[in-house]
């Protein structure tokens, strides 16, 4: 208490860690700083973050980074070159295309898929869950029954069936994956909503005459965000794997797009003699989805130290 | 009376993010076959004192003492195996809330039999017989029925009796009761206490009764240790309690209502930092 009365200027760290924030901004920044400190203490989580920053970087500058064209190969001299060949660091595929260049350009597809699925599925789940939790009664019962029905489905098989009906292609793959991945978000959002719904501050906002929509969007949904972000991050890995699986079965991105799963499928024929054609894209998928898993784990531990068990 | 338990300069430390916290800071006492009460607020280190004697200090914490001896056995240098053999057989402990301290997926009977068969070579049938006797000894009216019940199927008072049966079935000489009645209804508290009282007297056990309730302890024990912030601030015979010298003990005593007395203003427990030094 005596510290607060001292006139000595606070360091930035003290300002952030103050248990008596003077403004909303300070409180928010302070919380973010604490979260960041917990997060950055976890070396694996930081590694995950670096992997994903790397992915974004590669995707953004693919044109500059890729040494060759991702779709036009050199059939005459580069066909099935092994890794380490001059100019072809990771080797070349059966069309004489540089595998590294294809992987670099493929990162754009991977990133596009996860981002699109996230921005379709997460808001849907969030709104369904928050509305169900806040409204209660029969609205809750119906919405949650629908959610449970989707949860009880085999996700990959359902996505397969959707793509089969919609026709192969990366857009349809995104739609199919999004349709099958919103239910867990709805469950989380509902659970979070139920815990805040009856709290005093929500009652206070209601007394001040806020409309239900305002309460849900301004006060309930922000409370669901942190657990939702964690869950979405952890799900990203699964989304990448599903998208790659669809690509592998020929239902995702169509040739000659350099989608990693489809690249594995096309390399499958040469697995015995030219192992690198199928191996390299698999390593890329593994690294990126590992990055999402590490990041998600770290975020969960940082946002909710109780859950971490560390 | 030879000492059953000697504790000298017992310390329990917990490492935390902000540094080492000492929960118990140099506690010393000796115990014969008598009833010793340890009283203090939550966080005063009374429970950790009991657990350190049992050898149940949490693994990330560290317990040390100049001397910690039970019936001539040096507990500090004793190998873990010996301490395990002592636990349940010669030193036992009763925990606070039977709702959490009984294994929810194991029947009460099996949990009692388990203690017995851990420490004595007895046949299944004999173990069952002795468990039933023990249930009868804690005044459970229908031991055979309770034997097969699961913890969630019995009331709190019944659960705590089962807990006592489980801990006393192997015939320990020292019993540490850690807030044994705090989780129970007031009416049930007295029943459980009188059962405990009778068993301790019949079997001539030493008892360490850990509680936050000074009145309960003073009516139940021969001697009382008052703990504050990990230290013993006063040691006093229960009968002398009214003459307690330490202001903290007096404060605890003043918290007790006296029928007919004026309760305004309500006394607030005074805590001075220098007592913790």
């Amino acid at each position: 208490m005596s510290l607060a009365t001292e006139t000595r200027p606070m360091t930035r760290r003290e300002w952030l860690l103050s248990d008596r924030p003077q403004s909303r901004l300070q409180a928010r920044l302070g919380r973010a700083y604490m979260t960041w400190r917990r997060f950055s203490a976890n070396r694996l989580a930081v590694l995950g973050l670096l992997i994903l920053l790397g992915l974004v970087f590669v995707a953004a500058f693919a044109d500059l980074l890729a040494p060759h064209s991702p779709v036009i190969g050199n059939l005459a001299s580069a066909r099935l070159l092994p890794p380490g060949s001059e100019g072809y660091l990771l080797g070349a595929d059966d069309q004489g295309r540089d595998i590294l260049s294809r992987l670099i350009h493929g990162s754009r597809l991977t990133l596009a898929v996860v981002v699109l699925v996230a921005i379709i599925a997460a808001p849907v789940g969030l709104i369904v869950g928050a509305v169900a939790g806040y409204a209660g009664g029969w609205i809750d019962a119906i919405l949650m029954r629908i959610t449970d029905i989707f949860l009880a489905f085999p996700k990959l098989v359902l996505a397969l069936a959707f793509v089969a009906a919609l026709g192969p292609g990366i857009e349809n793959a995104v739609i199919a994956i999004a349709i099958t991945s919103w239910p867990p978000y709805a469950r989380i959002a509902r659970a979070e909503t139920l815990t805040v719904r009856n709290s005093d501050y929500i009652a206070a906002v209601r007394l001040m005459g806020a409309s239900p929509a305002r309460i849900v969007f301004r006060h309930v949904i922000p409370m669901c965000m942190s657990s939702l972000i964690v869950r979405v991050t952890l799900d990203m890995a699964g989304i990448i794997l599903t998208a790659a699986g669809l690509g592998f079965l020929g239902l995702g991105a169509q040739p000659p797009l350099p989608e990693w799963g489809a690249m594995i499928a096309s390399g499958r024929r040469f697995i015995l003699d030219q192992w690198w054609v199928a191996t390299m894209p698999g390593i890329a998928i593994l690294i990126v989805s590992l990055g999402f898993n590490l990041l998600g784990d770290g975020l969960r531990d940082a946002f909710d130290p109780r859950e971490s068990g560390q | 009376m030879s000492a059953l338990l000697t504790v000298e300069d017992l310390r329990v430390r917990f490492p935390t993010r902000t540094g080492v916290v000492e929960a118990v800071r140099g506690v010393s006492f000796t115990l014969g076959r008598e009833r010793l009460g340890i009283v203090g607020e939550s966080g005063s280190g009374k429970s950790q004192t009991g657990r350190a004697i049992m050898g149940l200090t949490p693994p990330h914490a560290d317990a040390s003492a100049k001397q910690l001896a039970f019936d001539g056995i040096d507990l500090i240098s004793a190998p873990p195996k010996l301490r395990r053999d002592l636990r349940g057989k010669r030193i036992a402990m009763i925990l606070q809330d039977p709702k959490y301290s009984l294994n929810p997926v194991m029947s009460i009977g099996r949990q009692i039999v388990e203690t017995l068969r851990r420490h004595e070579r007895v046949s299944r049938a004999e173990a069952r017989e002795r468990a039933l006797d023990m249930l009868a000894a804690v005044q459970i009216r229908d031991p055979a029925r309770v034997f097969d019940l699961y913890p969630h199927e019995v009331s709190g008072g019944m659960g705590q009796r089962a807990m006592i049966a489980m801990m006393l079935v192997a015939g320990p000489e020292l019993l540490i009761a850690d807030e044994p009645t705090s989780a129970l209804d007031v009416t049930v508290q007295l029943e459980v206490l009188s059962i405990l009282d009778k068993l301790v007297a019949e079997r001539g056990m030493g008892l360490i009764f850990v509680s936050h309730d000074l009145r309960l302890v003073s009516s139940f024990c021969d001697r009382v240790l008052v703990m504050y912030a990990g230290r013993i601030v006063e040691e006093i015979a229960a009968s002398e309690l009214a003459n307690a010298r330490h202001p903290y003990t007096q404060g605890l005593l003043n918290c007790m209502p006296v029928i007919g007395a004026d309760r305004h203003p309500l006394p607030v427990l005074d805590r001075k930092p220098e007592w913790a030094l």
Partner: protein, 347 residues
Amino acid sequence: MNGRRRARSRKAVAAALQFLVVVATTYLGLLAVTFFIGRVIPIDPVLAVLGDRAPAHVVERTREAMGLNLPLYQQFVIYCRQALSGDFGISVLTTNPVMTDIRRVFPATMELATVGTLIGALIGVPLGVLAAVKRGSIADQIVRVIGLVGYSVPIFWLALLALLVFYARLKWVAYPGRIDIVYEYTFSPITGFYLVDALWQRQWDVLRDVFRHIILPASLLGYFSLAYISRMTRSFMLNELQQEYIVAARAKGLSEARIIWAHALRNAAVPLVTVIALSYAGLLEGSVLTETVFSWPGLGLYITNSLQNADMNAVLGGTIIIGSVFIGINLLSDLLYRTLDPRTRAR
């Protein structure tokens, strides 16, 4: 006493009824979604069935045979009635009824998923227990990494690499498929579970051959369920080891081994059953990708083959079957949960 018992049994009946409603609506939802996929999304389901080169009168006849001239809700009622009686139509690819095909291929998938789950649970549970007990140690870190990689690796890719290493290079396992051609005609399975059949008929050389075929795909699937099971076991065990009854068990003088396995794990087993059941369901699904790599003649391969040939009846039939098994497994795990936990045990 009597009144309480009656109240309890009334409660049990209500719970059972609620359970039935849940199962029924879930199943109805499954049918609604597959109906939507098969009949509503395609612009012309007839073309989806016949292809666009069918003569006009065939198209017209099929349209009527499929009931497509009826209103949508009537179509759905008919669809449900057919699906519930096991009629998913004819597979264009094999020209058999889809149900007949599925009956033929399903045991192969079940066998693979069962062996995979066994491997996953038998290794995953001890690993998870180890990680929880030695929390923060090197062993814990290793188990964590094993789990994380399992979550992150594309299964079909790992399957390809495993084939390359263990079949092509090391020659430890048999080539893709379920059984050697040599035995294809001499071995007559009864249950469709080749391991069980070979054991039953005491055909040791067949058993050896079947084992050499199943071990690699089953281990791969096992690894995926191991990743999930070990992680969940760890977190359940950590939770149990903090409970007061563990302190009480220590106060009784029990050995650490007994505390861990007989007390903590016995309590953790209650939620673990659900986890193992879910991972079994997950493996049924994972088989879609693994079976193509291993040419395993199961439901997964059937679905992917049908997909490639735009055989929607077969795809949707397979989807409904896998969905039904999912629902069944959820139901079963719920029942198991009740019997394992005395607090929810119906009496």
